[in-house]
Symmetry: C2
Subunit: 106 residues, 2 copies
Amino acid sequence: MGAPARKHDVFQAIADPTRREVLRLLAEKERPISEISAHFPISRTAISKHLRILSEADLVKGEKAGRERIYYLQPEPLTELKEWLSFYERFWNNKLQKLKYIVEEE
Amino acid sequence: MGAPARKHDVFQAIADPTRREVLRLLAEKERPISEISAHFPISRTAISKHLRILSEADLVKGEKAGRERIYYLQPEPLTELKEWLSFYERFWNNKLQKLKYIVEEE
DNA sequence: TTGACATGAAACCAAAAGGTTTTATATAAT
DNA sequence: ATTATATAAAACCTTTTGGTTTCATGTCAA
C-alpha cells in the first residue's frame, strides 16, 4: 500500500549526467543498448549498468526482442520529483515576487 | 552569459537524502549549523560538509552573525530542475491520457 | 585575559560509484 | 553445425562520497 519501494531512488538515478542523457535519448524513441551506447564514449557494459540503475528506479523498462533488448522510457516516477519540487516552488515564487516588487518601486 | 557555472550540480546536490532534509529544515526557517545538525544522528562536521555542497550548488547561503553562521534557503537553482522536468511532463501526461482512454473504453 | 562555544579545516577511512576487461549465454544468419 | 551478434554477469580497479576524529581560529562571556 505504501510507497513504490523501488530499489533505486529517483533522485539518485537522475544525479548522473550520463543517465540523464540516456533518458533523453529514450524520450526520443525506444532503443536497444548498443544503439544507446553508440552515443557515449564509454563502454557498452557501463551503459548497461546505468540502464540497470534506471530500471531499478522504474524510469526505464527493457523488453527482450530476439537477441536484443529494447529499452523505453517510463516517466511516471518523475512525478515524485515534481511533487518534491512543488513544495519549494512557492519559495522561489515569493522570491521572484519580491524582486518584481523591488524593480517596480524604482 | 551562459549557465550559472556552479561548482556543484543541483541534481547531484539533491541526490542525498540528508541534504534534502537539510533543505526542508531551512525551508521552515533559517538556522545555524548546530541547530541543523541537532536533527541528525551524524556529526556536526558531516552536516557542515553537506552544507558546503548545498552552498556550492547555490541552494543555500550562509551569513556570519557573531560567532555563528546562519544558513538560509536559496531556492532559485531549483528552477533548473523544474525546466528539466517540464520536458518529461508531456510524456507522462500522454501516458496518463492513454490510461484514461483505456479505462473509459471498458 | 581566560575560558567556553561555534565553526572551519585537515587527515584519515570504509563503502559506494563509475568504469574496465573477461567470460558466459542466447539468438540469428550462413 | 558454425560463426557472429547482442546482451548479461562477474571480477576487478580507481575515484568519489559520506562519514569520523583531531586540531585551529574567531568571538562572546566572566
